[in-house]
Symmetry: C2
């Protein structure tokens, strides 16, 4: 099972690494980080670079595609080479997946037309022009298309996928190995739960954060 | 606030990236990935390399040190250059932190003598020879030393630290931005909760997983 994790400038690191950490532990999994060109790709905070070991051309037929989100997703959505790769790779995949605004790339490639999908809570309206049906769930499964909400939701998505790929015991084993027994000290992880003024401030700042 | 994330061969990627993703969003934070030598450092699954932008010598006085765990931690614990760097860096830090078996490096450097600390649930006994007091909590704070349990626990640690560094509202803002509202589809994230035969199998496999 070849898992291709797409990287592009200004991706959000946890979007990619959360699900990678868990999915990569499936028996027989081979993960490959891919980008337009092989080499280091820098994330949205500027201080982290992950190495893409392969260019897009070198990974034409993965079994699983994982597209992270990030402020750079808007630029990547306009990159026809990236969109073409997604379209062709998707004809081979068992699962085509995204975290956060990564679903906008899948949508821009035309893969989510008429499908239920999710994204970061701040960017729901951006799924509509591409024909996807925005769905406010943490992980949305529609056929082989699996989209996760913002950033950390990719970890929950990975556990769901592990269960479907290898059964409950595989998922439970990986959950135990990664000690995923979350105990957040605050309860502010969704706009319904966070203090209203924090939600309002982030909505106001949104354009600055997600501009290309 | 300079945050130094230590990398070494066969580190576990989510140990480093989980807390990096959240802590790096603190106002004024500058994160730097460091290793023995600058350049790509490959994680425990073999398929991921993160670039260390600086060598240890170039980052002598960080404000926060973050040490991830991983199968390579046993080798790193015997690397006097790494341990010396930890000892000197620690004289400058406001917070000295670890995730998973990263605490074994702090312990080997002599920094956890007589202190409460945690680690991956499979490796508790390994803290004892270095004088630490193993403590089964998800995040343990003892003075400026903050240790997290296995892999995903670093995310909870980061939220605690953000609260202490910048106040509750900062932590809540970052939790909302990263949409950290965990909904794991299984409840197997600790040895108390996972099916007994899964726990038993991992205990049996432990030596293979954590050997250097």
């Amino acid at each position: 099972m070849q898992i291709a994790v797409l990287l592009y400038d200004r991706f959000t690191s946890l979007d990619a690494i959360g699900p990678y950490e868990l999915l990569g532990r499936a028996p027989g999994a081979e993960t490959v980080f891919v980008a337009r060109e092989a080499g280091p790709v820098r994330g949205d905070q500027g201080s982290l670079a992950i190495v893409a070991d392969r260019s897009l051309d070198e990974v034409p037929a993965p079994d699983v595609v994982l597209v992270p989100g990030g402020p750079g997703s808007r630029a990547a959505m306009r990159d026809e080479r990236v969109l073409d790769w997604l379209r062709v790779a998707d004809t081979h995949t068992t699962w085509t997946t995204s975290v956060c605004t990564g679903s906008h790339l899948l949508a821009a490639a035309g893969l989510l037309k008429g499908r239920r999908a999710t994204t970061h809570w701040l960017t729901f309206d951006e799924l509509v022009p591409h024909g996807a049906e925005p769905t406010r769930e943490r992980v949305v499964v529609d056929g082989k298309y699996v989209t996760a909400a913002g950033v950390s939701a990719g970890i929950d998505m990975a556990l769901q996928l592990l269960g479907r790929i290898g059964g409950d015991e595989l998922a439970q084993t990986v959950q135990l190995l990664t000690e995923y027994d979350p105990q957040p000290p605050y309860d502010a992880g969704s706009p319904e739960k966070a203090p209203a003024h924090v939600v309002a401030r982030l909505r106001a700042e949104r354009e600055g954060m997600y501009e290309a």
